[in-house]
C-alpha cells in the first residue's frame, strides 16, 4: 500500500489519500441536484422569455412580454393573477393567526398533566397525517349545502338558517379555513408543546413569588420565552399558506366566481388548461420572488426579535 502511494501521482491513487474522494461521495446527489434543481430554475426563466409551444422544436423569443402582461391593467393575466393573489392574501391573513393562536391554545391546555393527555395530543395531531385530498373531501361533505353535518346542525338551532357554504361568495372560505385549521394545527401545537416543556420551572417560581397571576405569568414569562418558536411557526405557516392549492381545489374548485381560487391554482390553470406555459412560468417567477422576499423579511424580523429577547 505504501509503495503504491509512493509511485502514483495523488489523483490516480486508489485509496482515501486521493484528493478526489470527497467529491466522489458528493457526485450522485450533485448530478441530480444540477438536473432537477439548478437547471429547472434557469430553464424556467428561459421558458418565461419565449412563447413556449410543446409541439414545436423552435421557440419564439418574446423577451419580457409575459412579465409586462402581469403588470399591465386590462390583460386577463393581470386581472386573474392579482385577483387570485388577493384571495391568497386573504387566506393567509385569516389562517396564519388562527393556526398560531389555536396551536398555542391547545399546547397550553395540554401543558400540565391531565387524564388522557396522550389521547388528546394524538387526536389533535391526527389530521395532519391525512392527504390534502382526503381532508378536502371530508370538509366538502361536512359543509355540503343540503345534507352536510354543519347544515344539519344549523337547521336544528332556532333562529339560524342553513347556509349554502360551497356556492356562496364569502361563505365559501369558511370550509377552506376551518378545514385548514383542523388539518394543520397539530404541527404548530407539537412545536409549542416542546417549547413549553423547555421553559425552566425557576421562571414560574420567580413569577409566583412576585405575586403574578395566571395572565401576568403568561404575558411576562411564557409568551416572551416562546418568541423564537412563534416566529418560526409564523414563517413556515405563512410560506405554506401562500402556496395553498389542495384545499380550495378539492373543496370549492376555486369557486364560486373564482372567489376562492388561489394564485397557485391560477398558475396551474394557465399552464395545464390554457397551455400557456410561458405565461405560467413568468407568473411562477414573480410569485416565487415575492415569497422569497417575505421569507427574507420575516427572517430578519426573527433575528431582531430573538436578539431583543436575549438582551
Amino acid at each position: 500500500m505504501i509503495s503504491t502511494r509512493a509511485r502514483r501521482p495523488p489523483l490516480l491513487r486508489l485509496d482515501d489519500s486521493n484528493p478526489l474522494v470527497p467529491y466522489l461521495y458528493l457526485l450522485p446527489q450533485a448530478l441530480l441536484f444540477l438536473a432537477f434543481v439548478v437547471f429547472p430554475i434557469a430553464f424556467g426563466i428561459y421558458v418565461s422569455l419565449h412563447r413556449w409551444n410543446i409541439l414545436s422544436d423552435r421557440q419564439t423569443f418574446v423577451g419580457l412580454d409575459y412579465y409586462t402582461a402581469i403588470f399591465t391593467a386590462g390583460t386577463p393575466q393581470a386581472q386573474f393573477f392579482w385577483k387570485t393573489m388577493l384571495n391568497t392574501g386573504f387566506f393567509v391573513a385569516v389562517s396564519v393567526p388562527l393556526l398560531i393562536g389555536c396551536a398555542l391554545g391547545l399546547a397550553l391546555l395540554l401543558e400540565k398533566p391531565i387524564a388522557g393527555r396522550g389521547f388528546f395530543r394524538t387526536v389533535f395531531f391526527l389530521p395532519t397525517i391525512l392527504a390534502v385530498s382526503i381532508m378536502g373531501l371530508l370538509w366538502r361533505w361536512m359543509f355540503e349545502n343540503g345534507s352536510g353535518l354543519i347544515n344539519v346542525v344549523l337547521e336544528r338551532i332556532p333562529f339560524l338558517n342553513t347556509v349554502p357554504f360551497l356556492t356562496t361568495v364569502g361563505w365559501a372560505w369558511v370550509p377552506i379555513i376551518v378545514g385548514t385549521v383542523w388539518w394543520t394545527v397539530g404541527f404548530n401545537m407539537v412545536l409549542y408543546s416542546a417549547a413549553l416543556a423547555g421553559i425552566p420551572r425557576a421562571y414560574y417560581d420567580a413569577a409566583q413569588l412576585d405575586g403574578a397571576g395566571t395572565f401576568a405569568t403568561f404575558r411576562f414569562v411564557t409568551w416572551p420565552m416562546l418568541a423564537p418558536v412563534t416566529l418560526f411557526a409564523a414563517i413556515t405557516t405563512t410560506i405554506a399558506s401562500f402556496q395553498v392549492f389542495g384545499q380550495p381545489h378539492v373543496i370549492t374548485n376555486g369557486g364560486p366566481l373564482r372567489s376562492t381560487q388561489s394564485v397557485m391554482m391560477y398558475i396551474t390553470e394557465e399552464a395545464f388548461t390554457n397551455f400557456r406555459f410561458s405565461s405560467a412560468a413568468a407568473m411562477s417567477m414573480v410569485f416565487g420572488l415575492a415569497l422569497l422576499v417575505i421569507a427574507a423579511f420575516q427572517f430578519r424580523l426573527m433575528l431582531q426579535d430573538t436578539g431583543r429577547g436575549n438582551s
Binding site: 391546555l109 391531565i114 390534502v132 345534507s147 416542546a194 402556496q243 411562477s284 417567477m285 422569497l292
Partner: protein, 292 residues
C-alpha cells in the same frame, strides 16, 4: 378567565388542592369537547360510508346508521374505472422508492460535508442550504416541461426523481454526523478501514434513528403529495389520494361512495399512525426541533 386568575391569587397550601379540582375539570371538559369536534369529520366519514345513499341525506339525520351496509364499498370496487389496487401500488412503490433514495443520497452527501476537509466544502453546503429557500412553485412548470422532453409523463420516474436531490435530508444528516465523536473514526482508520467502511460500519449505526425519522417523513410527503401527481400522471398511473378526488368527482357523485373511497384511502394511514404514534411525534421533534 378573570375569576380563575383571581381565585388563584388566594393560594395557600391547603386551598391550592381544593382549587385545582374545578380548574382541572374545566380543562378536561374543554379538551373533551375539542377532541369531539376534531373527531367529528372522521366519524361522519365512517358512518356516511356505511349508509345507503338514501340514508345519507335522510331526515331526521341518522347519527348512528340505522341499516349499516357495505354496498358503497362493493360498488366502488366493482366500478369499472376504479383500480384501487393499482393506485395503492403506485403510491406505495413511488413513496418507498423516493424515501429510500433520498435518505441514501442524504447520508452519502452529508458524509464528506460533515467529516472531510476539501476545497469548496463550505460553498457547496451553502448552495444546498440556499436551495431550500426556493419556493416549490418555481419548479412546477420547468419540471413538467422536462418530463415531456424525457417522455416521463405517466411514469413512476416522474413521481420519484425530481424530488430526490432535495437538500433537507442532506442538511439533517449532516447535523447528526457532525456530532459523532471523531475518536471512533480514527480508531477504525488505524485498524485499516477505508472511508466507505467507516461510513457504513462506524457512522451509520449512529444515524439509524434520524434516518428512520427522515425516511418516514419523506414517505408521508410523497404519499400525500397533491399538485405534482395531479398534473404529471393520469388514469391507471395516478397515486391513491389524488385518484380518490379526481375519479370520485367524476364517477361517484354521491357522498356514500365518496366517503367509502375516502375511508379506503385514509384508514390504512390512520392505523399506521396510531401504531407508530410514539415514534412519530418523537421523530417529528427529532427532525424539526433538533436544537430545542
Amino acid at each position: 378567565m378573570a375569576t380563575i386568575a383571581g381565585t388563584g391569587r388566594t393560594g395557600v397550601a391547603v386551598g391550592s388542592r381544593r382549587r385545582r379540582m374545578p380548574r382541572g375539570i374545566i380543562r378536561f371538559v374543554t379538551l373533551s369537547l375539542l377532541a369531539m369536534i376534531f373527531l367529528a369529520p372522521i366519524y361522519w366519514m365512517a358512518t356516511t360510508s356505511v349508509k345507503s345513499e338514501s340514508d345519507t341525506i335522510a331526515r331526521p339525520v341518522q347519527w348512528i346508521p340505522e341499516e349499516p351496509t357495505l354496498e358503497n364499498y362493493r360498488a366502488i370496487f366493482a366500478s369499472p374505472n376504479a383500480t384501487f389496487l393499482r393506485w395503492t401500488w403506485n403510491s406505495l412503490f413511488t413513496s418507498v422508492a423516493f424515501s429510500l433514495l433520498s435518505v441514501a443520497l442524504g447520508v452519502l452527501t452529508a458524509y464528506p460535508l460533515a467529516r472531510m476537509r476539501f476545497p469548496g466544502r463550505q460553498t457547496w453546503f451553502w448552495i444546498l442550504l440556499g436551495s431550500m429557500m426556493v419556493p416549490g412553485i418555481i419548479f412546477l412548470i420547468p419540471h413538467y416541461l422536462m418530463m415531456i422532453q424525457l417522455n416521463w409523463i405517466d411514469t413512476y420516474n416522474a413521481l420519484i426523481w425530481p424530488g430526490v436531490p432535495g437538500a433537507f435530508g442532506v442538511f439533517l444528516m449532516r447535523q447528526f454526523l457532525v456530532s459523532v465523536p471523531l475518536e471512533l473514526e480514527e480508531a477504525a482508520r488505524l485498524d485499516g478501514a477505508n472511508s466507505l467502511q467507516i461510513l457504513v460500519y462506524v457512522l451509520v449505526p449512529f444515524l439509524i434513528a434520524p434516518m428512520a425519522a427522515l425516511g418516514l417523513f419523506n414517505f408521508m410527503a410523497a404519499w400525500n403529495n397533491y399538485v405534482w401527481p395531479l398534473f404529471v400522471v393520469h388514469g391507471d398511473m395516478q397515486t391513491l389520494p389524488v385518484a380518490i378526488t379526481t375519479f370520485s368527482s367524476r364517477y361517484w357523485t354521491t357522498y356514500g361512495k365518496l366517503m367509502a373511497g375516502t375511508a379506503i384511502a385514509s384508514i390504512p394511514v390512520l392505523i399506521a399512525f396510531l401504531v407508530a404514534q410514539p415514534y412519530f411525534i418523537r421523530g417529528m421533534s427529532l427532525t424539526g426541533l433538533k436544537d430545542e
